[in-house]
Amino acid sequence: MTFTRPKFRHPDLPPNALGYTRRDYEGALSTLCAGCGHDSISNAIIQACYELPLEPHRVVKMSGIGCSSKTPAYFLGRSHGFNSVHGRMPAIATGANMANRDLLYLGVSGDGDTASIGLGQFTHVVRRNLNMVYIVMNNGCYGLTKGQDSATADRGSTSKKGAPNLFESIDLCELAIQLGAGFVARGFSGDKIQLVPLLKAAMSHKGFSLVDVISPCVTFNNTNASTKSYQYVRDHAEATGTLDFIPLRQEITTEYQEGSTQEVPLHDGSVIYLYKGEGARDITNRRAAMDSLESHRVESRIMTGILYFQEGIEDTHEMIKTSQQPLNALQQEDLCPGNAALQQLMEGYR
């Protein structure tokens, strides 16, 4: 790793539609191991936010504990961030979202943080369909405590410690689809071309979006016998279909051949175009999505891309019918009923 980063940027860096350059989305220098997949994901997040484009200060970064949860310090330096406690990021994100429904909540977690200590909170935040993007930097091991197997490590997969994992793995994508998530995708930190549009689509989806990104741990879990190594994932990954994400306001210039793409519109007017390959699936069919994941699992293949998509599911605010105004913007006049109302109420207690 490098220890310093030059402050200088090319003066002609192209600004995005909001006038920000890519450096406005960068963060502090990463302290993760050289070659860590997480750094590639951080870069993809920066790229996605820059391209969409998002206003940096309207994004909130949330994380739990672990290598993955350190990364919010390494992107979006102009956004507020909250590095909370292990496995509890969803609760913090839920509260923050309840306080202000107008910001974009970007949760970053790891496989230990999500599938073990945080499994309870993960399942419930999916059930509530909280409007947030939940990124799992999934390396199948506990990096920060030196390489113990995590709950997403495949059975039999062997990390640097040398002993094959004894236990069944948890597929977070399958779980999220089963629990009603509206946007479920799997990416690979080594495939930026796919990951950036996946993230952009997730950020544009209203409701809960899960992006499970396989992100090899170069230090503890990049062995020949690991199913989360760079080599293994490259050899076994199979994209559900390459995709284009066309943000709102952007003119569609590419011509898509009739029948070659599936057009998936998002609530804000953005569109995802999925290129259909052979044996293409309908990603809006929940049962088919589950079947596909299962059949790939049986064949030891890793399916990447958007695995399931459903627009229009009510998010938490709509379920419980909160005010359209951010609750944190309401003033005392909006909230306090005043003494006259209280005295009237007191009559009922006499």
Binding site: E55, P56, H57, R58, V60, K61, M62, P72, A73, G77, R78, S79, H80, G81, F82, N83, S84, V85, R88, P90, A91, I92, T94, G95, A96, N97, M98, A99, N100, L103, G120, Q121, T123, H124, R128, T316, H317, I320, K321, T322, S323, Q324, Q325, L327, N328, L330, Q332, D334, L335, C336, P337, G338, N339, A341, L342, Q343, L345, M346, Y349, R350
Partner: protein, 611 residues
């Protein structure tokens, strides 16, 4: 036999089976006493169960306004076969025993020192009430009707209450009124003059209200502007959130859309509940949760985060009897130490101790101001007795000139003018930094909140000196808190007495009554009611001014006494524990007796030269 004779001074205990509809009948009775203008204090003594187990409802009637439990029962209404023997045995000599005589009393119920009032409740209901579904429920109303006669209360106040209660469904009032009359008439015909207890109209209750503490806390949250509540159901705190739900539906619905200016999320557990509160508070909304002991244990890790990352959290702990599941439907003050030092590492939290519904309301509003001013968790220490029982209280009031103190938060325009802002810089010398809320400024004021050690600019650090500086600043803030939290209430009976007592929360009413009892016996005691932690210097001064200070609390381990010793240089021998922890609210008799014993023991110690 000498019958107990009293006017507006008695304890009536109802023994029922839970789930049988007795609660509303017993409530009707207590409320009628209150509406006659007589101070009343009902206590629900109930099992952790929904149907079929014994439950008691104890109503203390007291003209002088003594509202703590007195101990003993002058009249027991025994409707529960399971506890008939126990209830029979517990009537005070000279007292009264009312039972359902549809089944006669067993032969060995042969006390000669009590008056037995036999009313065939089941039989009367079967005969007089056509609807079989109503009979069971109305049986309870029949004994209330009988009491109306036996205690000379008249029927009017009861009929009035029923009509009010069923204002929207008058057809339901009718059978209830009929049941009242059945009981009243039977008692009048068969037991004229049998009962020498009476409850007469009075003006002692004044403009007081009769309310449970949990409702008052919920109203406090509404008035204080709370908008987010994350919670997990647990007795005895559940009704705080249920009441908040009810009151926000009443006061916070937007007229056109019916959307609510509040978000209430039932979490998957207490960890998530407090996490949601922290997330919302960090993001600029006033938010709170309510829990009890087991939940407090689960919340400990997050409370440490809120302390260290300095997030204004409001937590209500409605304490119950622990440890572990303990007695979930019994009261205690046994979370004091767990709350004061909740979480690992060096942590301390602000605690508030309300003693009645009015104070629940006020402390909720103060608690939010304190939490935001101090940027730290504030824990309101209620308990089951205060939270779930109705208490007489001064009416709640809101000062319309009062403004919320949102603490140090920068607006976008203030940020514009700032050059060197750091989230944890102590610019005012009070240990409190200046917060920003996400999303308000495009280029300034963003920071990375973390539970790991951080410098003044909230950047990660493992530098020992920087860490120490931050921890010491939190102590400066603790001193600021000491000057802001509610002050204790002192009552000086005699300036030269060498005996003092300290108490807090629901021990208050019984303690004041005990002091009066002892005063009548010639013993003057000064008192100090704690209302908050950290303790102010005047608490320490009070202790120093007295030779012996008895600390009254409802737990086994003298937790408040321990906290006082831990947080001051007071010699341990000075503080004598008076402890009550059987799960029922503490009584005046108990306190008076234990104080006498403790002082006698101390006297002999002094004589023996051990002090």
């Amino acid at each position: 036999m000498e019958k107990i004779i009293s006017i507006n001074d008695c304890v009536i205990r109802f023994a029922n089976v839970n789930g049988s509809g007795s609660a509303s009948a017993n409530n009707l009775f207590a409320k009628a006493v209150f509406r006659l203008g007589v101070p009343v204090s009902p206590k629900n003594i109930f099992p952790s169960n929904i149907q079929g187990l014994p439950t008691w409802y104890e109503v203390r009637v007291n003209e002088h306004g003594y509202l703590g439990r007195r101990g003993g029962a002058d009249l027991i209404v025994a409707i529960n076969g399971q506890t008939l023997r126990q209830d029979y045995d517990e009537v005070l000599p000279g007292g009264y025993f009312l039972f359902d005589s549809t089944r006669p009393l067993p032969d060995d119920f042969s006390r000669t020192d009590i008056t037995v009032i036999a009313i065939p409740l089941t039989e009367l209901c079967n005969r007089e009430i056509d609807n079989p579904r109503l009979r069971q429920l109305l049986k309870n109303i029949v004994y209330v009707g009988a009491l109306a006669h036996l205690l000379d209360m008249g029927l009017e106040v009861f009929i009035d209450s029923l009509q009010k209660q069923f204002r929207k469904k008058p057809q339901l009032a009718e059978p209830n009124i009929k049941a009242l009359e059945i009981g009243y008439t039977y008692a009048k015909d068969h037991y004229p003059g049998a009962c020498l207890l009476s409850i007469k109209k009075s003006d002692r209750a004044g403009n007081a209200i009769l309310m449970d503490g949990n409702s008052a806390l919920a109203l406090g949250a509404v008035y204080a502007g709370a908008t987010v509540a994350g919670w997990y159901p647990i007795t005895p705190s559940t009704s705080v959130i249920e009441a908040f739900d009810k009151f926000t539906k009443k006061f916070r619905l937007e007229p056109e859309s019916e959307r609510r200016r509040a978000a209430i999320i039932q979490a998957e557990d207490e960890l998530a509940a407090i996490g949601m509160v922290i997330g919302a508070a960090w993001n600029g909304a006033r938010s709170f949760t309510a829990t009890s002991g087991p939940g407090l244990s689960l919340m400990s890790e997050f409370l440490g985060l809120a302390y260290f990352a300095e997030i204004p959290v409001l937590l209500v702990d409605v304490q119950r009897a622990g440890p572990s599941t303990g007695m979930p439907t019994r009261t205690q003050q046994s979370d004091i130490l767990a709350a004061a030092y909740a979480s690992h590492g060096d942590t301390r939290h602000v605690l508030l101790f309300p003693c009645d519904p009015k104070e629940c309301f006020d402390m909720m509003a103060d608690g939010f101001d304190l939490a935001e001013r101090l940027q730290t968790p504030v824990i309101i220490m209620s308990d089951l007795d205060l939270g779930m029982n109705d208490h007489i209280s001064a009416p709640l009031a809101w000062d319309d000139d009062r403004r919320y103190d949102r603490g140090k938060v920068l607006t976008a325009s203030e940020l514009d003018g700032l050059k060197d802002w750091g989230r944890y810089r102590d610019v005012d010398g009070d240990g409190i930094g200046v917060r920003t809320i996400p999303g308000i400024h495009p280029t300034k004021g963003s920071y990375f909140t973390r539970g790991s050690s951080h410098n003044e600019y909230s950047a990660y650090t493992e530098d020992g000196a920087t860490y120490e500086r931050g921890m010491l600043r939190l102590l400066t803030k603790w001193e600021t808190a000491r000057g802001l939290v509610p002050r204790p209430h002192e009552k000086i009976a005699a300036p030269d007495t060498r005996i003092g007592v300290i108490f807090f929360g629901t021990s208050t009413h019984a303690a004041y009554e005990a002091i009066d009892i002892l005063q009548k016996q010639g013993l003057s005691i000064n008192s100090l009611r704690l209302r908050a932690f950290p303790f102010q210097q005047e608490v320490i001064d009070f202790i120093n001014r007295h030779e012996t200070v008895l600390v009254i609390e409802q737990n086994r381990d003298a937790q408040m006494r321990k906290l006082l010793l831990a947080e001051s240089e007071i010699p341990a021998s000075k503080l004598v524990p008076i402890l009550h922890f059987d799960g029922l609210p503490i009584t005046a008799q108990f306190i008076a007796e234990r104080i006498r014993q403790a002082l006698a023991a101390r006297k002999s110690e002094i004589k023996g030269g051990s002090l």
